[in-house]
């Protein structure tokens, strides 16, 4: 009879606390993953834009017009 708080909560209360903690941990992990993936997407898009040469004319064959 040591954990009076647990006994007082009852099984329903324990399930609520456990479920709530799982959801909070889930949502916090989700927010971290979201921030990380948005960062990666923005970086890769910037790299893609930097890699593309805006002055590159694919029809250009080296001859002057």
């Amino acid at each position: 009879m040591e954990n009076y708080m647990l006994l007082d909560m009852g099984l329903g209360g324990l399930v609520m606390v456990a479920g709530g903690l799982a959801v909070i941990a889930f949502l916090l992990t989700g927010i971290c993953l979201l921030a990380k993936s948005i960062g990666v997407i923005r970086r890769e898009l910037k790299n893609e834009e930097a890699g593309a040469d805006p002055g590159n004319d694919s029809d250009h064959d080296g001859k002057s017009v």
């Binding site: 889930f26 949502l27 990666v40 997407i41 890769e44 893609e48």
Partner: protein
């Protein structure tokens, strides 16, 4: 000790569940997107799929937890199926196709078909896994 378990274990399970869900999605969709020639940038594919999967799971959790619906097996099934249909048939493939179009030289129609194939495959695996969890937790209470 039991105190720690009661508070630590659910949090760990919450984290593990999301990481597994994202991991399985990325594992299934990346080869499909690469093989169909949409893009070879695996970092970008992983990031896009992580983004859509996390939002998908967070919205579903939000609907179930905050929505105020009774959490009976029937209600959970209806909500999950409705959300799956909306997300996997419309929102996710279109959004992913838009994201891949920014980095791919392939035409829009081919990218869209590729994202639909990839999402249907990952959705099928997701439904099988969810069904398994459902059976484990709700068996005998139906």
């Amino acid at each position: 000790m039991s105190f720690l378990l009661i508070f630590l274990l659910p949090a760990v399970l919450g984290v593990v569940f999301l990481l597994l869900s994202v991991g399985v999605t990325v594992l299934i969709e990346t080869p499909v997107i690469v093989r169909r020639g949409v893009t070879g940038n695996k970092k970008y594919i992983r990031a896009v799929n992580t983004l859509t999967n996390v939002i998908f799971n967070m919205v579903l959790t939000g609907i179930l937890v905050i929505g105020g619906f009774p959490l009976t097996p029937a209600a959970v099934t209806v909500i999950a199926v409705a959300w799956y249909a909306l997300a996997e048939l419309i929102a996710i493939p279109v959004f992913e196709a838009y994201a891949y179009k920014k980095i791919s030289s392939l035409e829009w129609k081919k990218i869209l078909i590729s994202t639909y194939i990839a999402n249907f495959l990952s959705c099928a695996v997701g439904i099988l896994l969810d069904g398994l969890i459902f059976v484990i937790f709700f068996w005998g209470r139906l």
